[in-house]
């Protein structure tokens, strides 16, 4: 069971990066796999004498999965749209995808299958996967017809997951929909609030949008609030593969039940967390996160407003503490970190001390926010503005790549490149009404992908002892 413990020591110390971050992780048990915490500031050195905006990045990197078969048990509800629009190849593929997923489960995993159309129906109540064939047999009977009671489907799915809710399992509702919710609550906001509520209990929600008919705003916001993945599945044939990916993620969860708390220092005002809904109360920021996948790099960018300081002064920017459930060691772990800023009157010093990596990540999230704005502009019919915004986005990111490229790690470099291309590609299709339906869904998918780094993984560690950090 604990055979992986000896593979390598924690990588935590290695990722306590330069700048003025002070790593103070709780002493990890020498053999345990650990999540690493990395807190960075865009501009650790700031110009004195004026109020400025700065950005703080809290990054978490999941440990690698142990080599053994052992992994945390899954407790998932597969919520399948069986409305009339799903008929034909879609429902066939959805059945196939669900069956394939169920077959992959271990005996101690728990699965429920919920169907929704005019109402919601628990096809398979939450049950251990020991009797796979009975579950598969039931899934085979699913057919399509009726309207789309999406909210009810999620509600019933969550209720099934809740039956076996356990902080040691991966609790997830997987929602598949190809259409607009038309029975029951249906606004993106209502679904978003439901997702946020579920995350508080440790249930995450993933949404798979199938085809070009679903409400991408609803689905992406539900997944974002529900701390799950959002995926755009244009072709029904890809459904099996997407389900596989989703279950790959589920099976690779290394930590969950996060409490990410950043206490912002005096003289600094927290403004917001980019692309994430966080609980900000006074100087305290709590960021919801349901789980971390193996080797996933998950980070949050906090925008703060720094009051004018004196030259030479330093100020505590934030005390960050991350508590989580380590599913590999089955312990509750805690990481802490503290970052400071310093004031100077030298413009060059500011530039010189800029944390390139943090800066690039922050720029990425800012660009992502602008990307969301571009979608809104396009929705409002201001196509030209949207196009220009995307091009500007692309240019700005390219500039950062040129300025700091050499100092950046591979992950962020790849992300930058991907986003540069993404923004310019989007700017070229945004004006085309024929491509917009799929384009908008793709855009929302990329936005949530960027916001939650659902595909962002660090390179698997080599067999040699870890070299450390960036």
């Amino acid at each position: 069971m604990k055979s992986w413990n000896s593979i390598r020591p924690a990588r935590l110390l290695a990722v306590c990066v330069a700048g003025f971050a002070v790593c103070a992780a709780s002493p990890p048990s020498a053999s345990a796999q650990q999540v690493s915490l990395d807190v960075g500031v865009c501009n650790p050195v700031m110009l004195a004498g004026e109020k400025q905006t700065n950005y703080l990045r809290i990054a978490l990197t999941g440990s690698d999965l142990p080599q053994s078969e052992s992994r945390p048990p899954i407790n998932a509800a597969i919520v399948i749209d069986q409305s009339g629009s799903m008929s034909g190849q879609k429902i066939v593929q959805a059945r196939e995808a669900a069956i394939t997923a169920v077959r992959r489960l271990r005996d101690d995993d728990i699965v429920a299958v919920i169907l929704y159309a005019d109402s919601a129906h628990v096809l398979v109540p939450a049950t251990r996967a020991t009797d796979r064939e009975a579950i598969v047999e039931k899934i085979r009977s699913v057919n399509a017809g009726g309207s789309t009671a999406l909210f009810a489907g999620v509600s019933k799915g969550a209720a099934e997951v809740r039956k076996f809710l356990d902080s040691d399992s991966v609790n997830r509702v997987i929602l598949l929909s190809d259409g607009q919710a038309n029975v029951g609550p249906q606004s993106p906001r209502e679904l978003e609030r439901l997702g946020a509520s579920l995350v508080k209990e440790g249930i995450s929600v993933s949404t798979l949008g199938l085809g070009l008919g679903y409400n991408e705003d609803l689905m992406s916001r539900l997944a974002a609030a529900g701390s799950g993945n959002h995926m755009f599945v244009e072709q029904a044939d890809d459904l099996v593969a997407v389900f596989q990916r989703e279950f790959n993620d589920l099976m690779s969860v290394v930590a969950n039940d996060f409490e990410i708390h950043a206490r912002i220092g005096e003289g600094i005002r927290p403004v917001r967390v980019l692309n994430t809904k966080a609980d900000i109360s006074g100087q305290d920021i709590y960021i919801p996160l349901a789980q971390l996948y193996a080797r996933q790099e998950r980070y949050f960018v906090i925008e703060v407003e720094v009051d004018a300081g004196h030259v030479g002064d330093s100020r505590t920017m934030a005390n960050v503490s991350v508590k989580y459930r380590n599913l590999i060691s089955e312990t509750r772990d805690k990481l802490t970190s503290r970052v400071e800023i310093r004031f100077t009157d030298d413009q060059e010093s500011v530039a010189k001390h800029r944390d390139a990596e943090t800066y690039a990540y922050c720029a990425l999230q800012i660009a992502n926010e602008k990307n969301v704005r571009a979608t809104a502009l396009r929705d409002a019919g201001r196509i030209e503005e949207a196009e220009q915004l995307l091009m500007k986005n692309s240019d700005e990111l390219r500039q950062i790549e040129m300025d700091y490229g050499v100092q950046l790690g591979k992950v962020i470099k790849d992300e930058l490149k991907r986003n540069i291309n993404l923004n310019s590609a989007q700017s070229s299709i945004i004006a085309d009404p024929k491509k917009w339906s799929a384009g908008r869904k793709a855009m929302r998918y990329e936005q949530s992908n960027n916001a939650s780094q659902q595909n962002q993984r660090v390179a698997p560690p080599s067999k040699s002892p870890p070299s450390g950090g960036n």
Binding site: Q82, L115, A117, D118, S119, A120, H121, V122, L123, E137, K138, S141, N143, G145, G146, A149, F151, A152, V154, S155, K156, A158, A159, V183, G184, P185, S187, R189, E190, L191, E192, R193, L194, A196, S197, L198, K200, E201, P270, R272, K277, D279, I280, S281, G282, D284, Y286
Partner: protein
């Protein structure tokens, strides 16, 4: 006549049909109503069950929140933590004993959703069910509301109830608003508030602390909606299966398609969740039930399929009504045709009688002619007993043949089509002579009946009338006198020419008066009707009952009138015959 019969027949058919139709429609409606009520009563237990689930859910929330709030000493930290960690909590609120909102502060409300909540909070707090200090609070409320611009979330007034959490026991149950005013509230005074904010109805849980400050918990609408939905029954799968799927194992699909649908609708009647049959309800709900506190603006509705209700198909009713109509119609038609057949038969009898009468006229005329010839021949014979005997017998033949002729004429008059003034042959006639001739005819029979007969005629010059008509009328009247006036009675005839009161034209007026029993007032209208005899007993004098009818018809054919006067000079019956006199300026009607 047949048209009237036809109308009567139609009425005969239609009236019972309408009545039957109305009755059966009513009984169908009644039985449907009763069945609907029974069904509603039967199925509304489901609504009650569902409603109880919802009530219990909110009770659990209340217990849970009570426990959370009881554990803590630092209320601010607790409220912050609840918002962060408790799935049902959207926002905590703390109002001090002066009714001032202490928490959340502006710094606690970051983001657009929070800003919306923050904007709605003052109104929500003003309307909270557990006001801290009532006089102050109500003052503040009055002024506050007028000062603050109206917010979209404040469209409707607060609806609240005091809820008794189980922990509160009877003290909490008894705690009403007024109780809260008058006495120190028990430490567990809690209440629910329903408030409209953002997406719709929001539920707030309030708890009063011992220092009269209040803690409110705005519940997450999406979350309690989801919890309600997850408590409510499932959609049985059968309804969503297309027919091709029916063949799969019954075990997987054991539930029969439900015949009813229950839906939960929110405050704006928007569908939140439904289960049961999947058909879109197209009729008003069979039963409704408002959700119990605190979600009183929501409603459960029960719809049923048509199958559960008695068949409303009106065709059986229409068909049976049509059948009854058909039967009635055929009976009516049968009656109508048989009546028509009878009438045709009677018609042919009448026409036969007419033809026979016509045929009788010629031999009668011949008999009279030869009787007269025989009388004139007899006059030339020597007087002797043989002659006087022959004369007597010839007189009898003459008299009887005249009587026969009158009868024939009467029959012909009777069968003559009414309303046609035809067959009137006016010629200058000495009326007095004519009348005395008629009287002479009756003299022997009157004499034998010992009835006196007096005639007064004031008409000295010939006038243009049809003597046959006058004769027919008078013969009929006099034979009635002969029949009905008892022995020793009298009869008075008065003839004169008078001027018509309206036109001034001259007319003949003959009054026939007697002192017999007369005709009772009730029988007056009957005497001229055909085949009417006032006394139809065996002992009554013989007669056909058409004499007066014939007489009146004859008079009318002449343009005159025969009437029974209401007053008689001699106490019997008085008939008045009036006939217009033909003059050059007054031609006979054709």
């Amino acid at each position: 006549m047949p048209r009237r019969l036809l109308l009567a027949l139609l009425l005969l058919v239609a009236a019972p049909l309408v009545l039957l139709g109305w009755l059966s429609a009513r009984s169908v409606e009644d039985s449907r109503q009763r069945a609907t009520e029974r069904l509603a009563a039967l199925l509304s237990t489901r609504l009650i069950d569902a409603d109880r689930e919802v009530g219990e859910l909110f009770d659990r929330y209340a217990d849970q929140l009570q426990a959370e709030l009881a554990e803590t000493s630092n209320i601010y930290a607790a409220l912050k933590r609840l918002r962060r960690e408790n799935p049902i909590v959207r926002q905590g609120i703390y109002v001090d004993s002066d009714g001032v909102q202490i928490f959340p502060t502006a710094a606690d409300m970051n983001g657009s959703d929070e800003a919306e909540v923050a904007a709605g909070l003052p109104g929500l707090i003003d309307a909270r069910p557990l006001p801290s200090r009532l006089p102050d609070a109500s003052d503040a409320r009055g002024s506050d509301v007028s000062r603050r611009p109206s917010l979209p979330g404040m469209i409707r007034p607060v609806v609240f109830e005091v809820a008794a959490a189980k922990a509160a026991g009877s003290a909490g149950k008894a705690a009403t608003k007024s109780a809260g005013r008058s006495q120190t509230p028990p430490p567990t005074l809690v209440a629910w508030q329903q408030w409209y904010l953002g997406d719709g109805a929001q539920i707030v849980f309030w708890k009063q602390l011992p220092d009269r400050s209040t803690v409110g918990i705005l519940l997450d609408r999406s979350r309690w909606m989801a919890d309600i939905i997850s408590l409510l029954p499932d959609q049985p799968p059968a309804a969503t299966q297309p027919p091709s799927q029916r063949s799969r194992p019954a075990s997987a699909n054991a539930d029969a398609t439900p015949l009813f649908q229950v839906s939960l609708v929110d405050e704006s009647k928007r569908l939140i969740y439904r289960w049961g049959s999947t058909d879109e309800p197209n009729r008003p709900p069979l039963a409704t039930r408002n959700v119990t506190r605190p979600l009183t603006s929501w409603q459960f509705r029960l719809h049923t399929d048509g199958d559960l209700l008695p068949d409303l198909n009106p065709w059986p009713m229409y068909l049976s009504l049509g059948g009854i109509g058909l039967v009635l119609l055929s009976i009516g038609a049968y009656v109508l045709t048989s009546v028509q057949r009878q009438m045709r038969l009677a018609q042919s009898r009448v026409s036969f009688a007419g033809q026979v009468s016509h045929e009788l006229r010629t031999p009668l005329t011949n008999i009279r002619l030869f009787t007269e010839l025989a009388e004139s021949d007899l006059a030339n014979l020597q007087e002797g007993p043989a002659k006087s005997s022959l004369v007597k017998r010839l007189q009898v033949i003459d008299h009887e043949s005249k009587r026969l002729q009158r009868l024939v004429t009467g029959v012909l008059e009777m069968i003559r089509p009414t309303g046609k003034q035809s067959g009137v042959r006016t010629r200058p006639t000495d009326v007095c002579e004519l009348i005395s001739g008629i009287i002479e005819q009756f003299r022997p029979s009157f004499a034998s009946a010992e009835i006196s007969l007096e005639s007064r005629c004031e008409c000295d010059h010939p006038i243009a009338i049809d003597p046959d008509v006058v004769e027919m009328v008078l013969v009929n009247l006099l034979s009635n006198v002969e029949k009905y006036v008892p022995q020793g009675g009298g009869c008075w005839l008065q003839t004169e020419t008078v001027a018509d009161q309206a036109t001034g034209r001259p007319q003949l007026r003959v009054l026939v008066d007697d002192d017999g029993p007369g005709i009772g007032a009730t029988d007056r209208h009957r005497v001229f009707a055909a085949f009417q005899r006032l006394d139809d007993s065996i002992s009554a004098p013989s007669g056909t009952g058409i004499g007066l009818t014939i007489a009146r018809r004859a008079a009318r054919r002449h343009g005159g009138e025969l009437a029974l006067l209401s007053k008689s000079k001699h106490g019997g019956a008085t008939f008045e015959l009036i006939l217009p006199i033909q003059t050059a300026s007054n031609p006979a009607p054709k």
